[in-house]
Amino acid sequence: MVLVVLDHDGSKLRKSALEGVTRGRKLAEVLGGDVVGLLIGPGADAVAEEAKDYVSKVYTVTGADFETYTAEKWAKAAQAAAAAAGAKAVVAPASRTGRSWTPRLAYKLDAALLEDTLDSWAEGDKVFATKYSFLNRVLEKQAAGLPAVISVKPNTTPLAEPAGAGTVEPLSVELGELERKVEVLEKIVESGGKVSLTEADVVVTGGRGMGSAEAFGMIEEFADLLGGAVGATRAVIDAGWRPYSEQIGQTGKTVQPTIYFALALSGAVQHQAGMNKSKVVVAVNKDPDAPIFKESDYGVVGDIHQVLPAMIEEVKKLKSA
């Protein structure tokens, strides 16, 4: 039996949930048993109607205790579902929150943790996974025994297709003392971010060469046009032009979009660590010797304030053609 913890936004499954189902099915082919799902938090009951087409059973954990996320509560819910299902492997998204509760779960289950994996599979009673390490510069293959907790790096896995109607089973999870030690006082909504940066197919990142916070208006316009998300370099965050949540790099977020625009940034290792697995990289920089050109598929040497508005016009033309 394989348990897949399904991420959702309260009304529908996230893309990462369908990536997780694909991984779960692949593991179950060898480990045996069904693939079951778990939905936690507000909206789980509604989303279960969609989710039951992908797994044989959907556990839901809802109620006042699960209105807000904490790593302790989510790990507890996943532990309960894993026990109910008799799961040998648990698959979860390698989102920020996913990566904060899965280590707790692994410890609770005395399981191996395979983290932020690109692919995963079972052979006999062992599980294998590939992942990046050393700031995304090394590709490594890991092996572990069962049970195992596997987190799935976003945008690495084909989305699962529906496979027929499963059942829904609400699961009651009692919180202990530990799960009541964190109290959420206030939510801070991310500015701008219409598309989740780590799941976006298109990321448009601006560097210090943008010159000002105001110049990011152009970046936002371009990202919106492409249905993408805005990123920023560490220098931009340090200058206070953009929020920390948009930082791409070693000390920020790691993205792997289909197309990554590196605009007016030089291409430091710190930045590369967050984007070097993007499918196609496009750079615009006024310095022809900027390292970013060597890390890019396509580049334009020129003034961002002239080139980017022209790119916006060209994409508009392409869209209306």
């Binding site: 904060s100 609770k108 490594e140 890991q142 530990l178 964190v182 006082l185 980017l308």
Partner: protein, 252 residues
């Protein structure tokens, strides 16, 4: 109060790494205190400066980790505890060992880096918290002590939130939490005399690694590197770029 930073020694991001026989070989690579852990060390030193108490650095790693620990002591931490073990040990297993040392140290606040620059892991803080039965707050950008509890701001998948946490608790640090100080010369001199207690991981009765690294290889960047000169005619260069993305790369 007592504050602990869990640190690691990792390759300098700007330093070359190589692979020998299917495993990363770090000989000849410049090793540093993980930059993410610098935020953790800075935070516990600040807490000590503001509220008194003791700032202790704890690590699990090979003998050479002592160098990174000396850096943390030079920044201003009081003493160190190093659990020594050679080779790869996964974070869940490390957490079990660290928890034994931390249970004895009994700190109020534990900080560690949000992500490790060698294994690219984010698990150590959360797993250590679980091993101790303490809460964890990841990706912390603001922290203060308030009436015996901690008030912290931290990032979620989207947006952020402010939480109040009962202590003891584990927090993972990231950029924005503080500006790590550089060790001063007197600080470096003092650090040489500060105590580092070493404990062999085997003495803690912790099992072997649950995860084995089967093979590693360097990822070569394979980029086309096509560059268009847009210095004289930016509009034409932009048009050519969009055409290439549409027709050749087929991504637009």
């Amino acid at each position: 109060m007592k504050y602990v930073a869990i640190i690691r020694q990792v390759p300098d991001g700007e330093s070359k790494i190589k692979v020998e026989g299917g495993q990363v070989d770090l000989s000849g690579t410049t090793m540093i205190l993980d930059q993410m852990d610098e935020y953790a060390v800075e935070e516990i030193i600040r807490l000590k400066e503001q509220h008194d108490g003791e700032a202790v650095v704890v690590a699990f790693g090979p003998e050479r980790t002592e160098e990174a620990m000396r850096t943390a002591l030079a920044m201003g931490a009081d003493r160190g505890v190093l659990i020594t073990a050679a080779g790869y040990v996964d974070p869940i297993t490390q957490a079990a060992a660290l928890a034994k040392v931390l249970a004895e140290e009994a700190p109020d606040v534990v900080f560690t880096g949000g992500q490790q620059a060698d294994w690219d892991s984010q698990a150590l803080g959360a797993a250590t918290a679980e091993a101790l039965g303490w809460p964890v707050i990841t990706w912390t950008t603001a922290f203060e002590l308030e009436d015996g509890k901690a008030k912290a701001t931290h990032d979620l998948d989207e947006g952020a939130e402010v939480v109040r946490v009962e202590l003891p608790a584990v927090f993972t640090a990231q950029q924005g939490l503080n500006e790590p100080r550089y060790p001063t010369l007197p600080g470096i001199m003092k650090a040489k005399k500060k105590e580092i207690k070493k404990i062999d991981a085997a003495e803690l009765g912790v099992g072997g690694s649950k995860v084995e690294i089967v093979e590693q290889r360097i990822m070569e960047l394979e980029r086309k590197g096509k560059v268009i000169d847009g210095t004289k005619e930016p509009a034409a260069a932009a048009a050519e770029l969009v055409k290439l993305l549409h027709e050749e790369a087929k991504v637009l």
